[in-house]
């Protein structure tokens, strides 16, 4: 059976313009952590001669992240879009993703970014794995497959852990695991003109309405505001050697280095 990898991605909002602001390719981008996850997934799928499917939940205006992922190399994309999915928290999102992944079975690997750049919870990967009842390893640096099993290296603080697991497996990719590829212009053109995405609604996923959207959520975001960034400029004078020492001292005092 052909190796099948699924990557769950998100269009993250660039500017907080109030709760429920519409995400589209002007106001949102493909989550940068997902780009790293996609790179890792593509590298694995390429060595296994397998297929890669990308999955995202959001309004149709978020489909652009699927096209971007397909321009990177994914074979196909699925948009999970339904008004009843609106206001899903991470739990309800994971419920929807898990239902879609079950529909995409068989699969060997489900990959997520470490977190999202606009909400930063890191919940969705582990919760989806839980819903699927498959093992999850977070913060993955490398993932080497042999037949139906894999050896996974995970980085956590200053430690590296090695896991041996059998398919199917879910993982989140460490932000330092790899550098995402640049997208050739021709692949962008091909993605939009030759590749297709499918859209699944609640009915396609065999889910009850009370498990998704606001009804299926245990948490609710009341507001989203841009964090104010304090700027402070300090000039260090004197000869270069003194400046360097003073700079190191200032960074040390700020707690950035020990």
């Amino acid at each position: 059976m052909k190796f099948h990898c699924i990557v769950c991605i998100k269009a993250v909002t660039l500017h907080a313009s109030g709760k429920g602001a519409g995400r589209n390719s002007c106001t949102a981008v493909l989550n940068p952590f997902d780009r790293i996850a996609l790179e890792k997934a593509l590298a694995i799928a390429e060595t296994r001669a397998g297929a890669l499917t990308v999955l995202t939940m959001g309004p149709p205006s978020c489909a652009f992240v699927l096209y971007e992922a397909m321009a990177m190399g994914a074979a196909g994309g699925v948009l999970l879009s339904d008004n009843r999915f609106a206001d899903s928290d991470t739990l309800a999102t994971s419920t929807v993703l898990a239902a879609a992944i079950i529909r995409l079975a068989p699969y060997d690997l489900v990959i997520f970014g470490a977190r999202t750049a606009d909400s930063d919870t890191g919940h969705v990967g582990p919760q989806t794995a839980e819903a699927l009842g498959i093992p999850m390893v977070t913060g993955v640096l490398t993932c080497e497959w042999k037949d139906d099993s894999c050896r996974i290296e995970r980085k956590i603080d200053e430690f590296r852990e090695i896991y041996a697991l059998s398919s199917p497996v879910a993982l989140t990719v460490h932000p330092t695991a790899c550098v995402p590829r640049d997208i050739p212009l021709a692949h962008i053109e091909e993605s939009y003109t030759q590749k297709e995405i499918v859209t699944w609604s609640l009915e396609d996923l065999d889910l009850r309405e009370d498990r998704v959207g606001k009804n299926g959520s245990l948490t609710e975001v009341f507001s989203l505001k841009q964090a104010a960034r304090e700027r402070h400029c300090e000039f260090i004078g004197g000869p270069v050697e003194t400046q360097a020492a003073a700079l190191v001292d200032a960074i040390r005092k700020s707690g950035l280095i020990g």
Partner: protein, 383 residues
Amino acid sequence: MNTLLSEKQRTVRRSVRSFCDRELAPIAGAIDQESRFPWEVVEMMGKLGYFGVQAPKELGGADLDSLSYAVTIEEISRASGAMGLTVTVHNSVAVYPILHFGTDTQKRRWIPSLARGEKIGAFCLTEPNAGSDAAALEATALRKDTFYLVNANKVFVSNGAVADVCLIFARTDPAAGRKGISIIVAERGTPGFVVGDLEDLSGMRANPVCSLRFYDCPVPLENLLGKEGTGLHIALATLDTGRMGIAAQALGIAQAALEASARYARQRRQFGVPIGNHQAVQIMLADMATTVDAARLLVYRTAILRDTGSPFSREAAMAKLFASEASGTVTDKAVQIHGGYGYSKTYAVERYYRDARVTRIYEGTSEIHRMVIARRVLDEYAP
């Protein structure tokens, strides 16, 4: 302004910007000061399709629309005007005329390696005594048995020192005046093809602009582009596209200057507050942003017309005129906002200011464009 673009075009912008921010912008100042053509980045740009943005897929291109092309040039130029020049000259006035006026054999021979950036193209029209008055050129390409014998002195050739495929404008029939000018495609390495010294220019210093000389250079007859005598016709058709590219380049430089100025205005403090709090600086920023957006609208309109197959000659002239003048005023204000530091090579606006200047000169001076536009206006409203 992104709302004017399709999702695909926005993806093009994001992808090109992401690459240029990471690979090109950090070295743009150094390659300018060293007058160095950054082969390492050019090679990467070639692999990403920047050298064949609109060439068909079967010939190795990305097969994108004109607006995507304009956005690509805008983004490259936002990082480095000199590399924007390399890419726009290559696409607009080397790849495009071969694609549209070349035979199938010529396309198959030259386009794939050009589209992948493995070979670099150049357009050799200007001579010491023929600039805006292109019909005054003195180069000759006289037909012999199996070749044209080319004798030419071409100056200010963008990409010149690295060009492999050069479109040379020369007289194949010296007695026929304007109708005796043809385009001969000469490849580097042909006997008599001599690369002159680099021009010591004020800006665009990472682009190896130089003179190219051809001394009794035998170019095979099959390297004639189009028919004999159609050189100026092809030039005019080509330059409309070229002007759109230069307009996009000027726009990218102006955008970079605007962004740098806004950042500096927030950071630099005088009289106890960031200078961006002072109305005098705010007025400059507002005028810069408005001018940049107006230029962008003109550039994008030209691209959209080109994509829909409509005539766009007048609009290309307007976009080139306005965007190049805009990049002059915007980079000038950027230097002013930066004060003494803006006049120093420490800050990129000094480079933007120098790079912007030539956009009012090459591929038709502002004055030539005003003539083109005025002629259209007179014909339209007072025929």
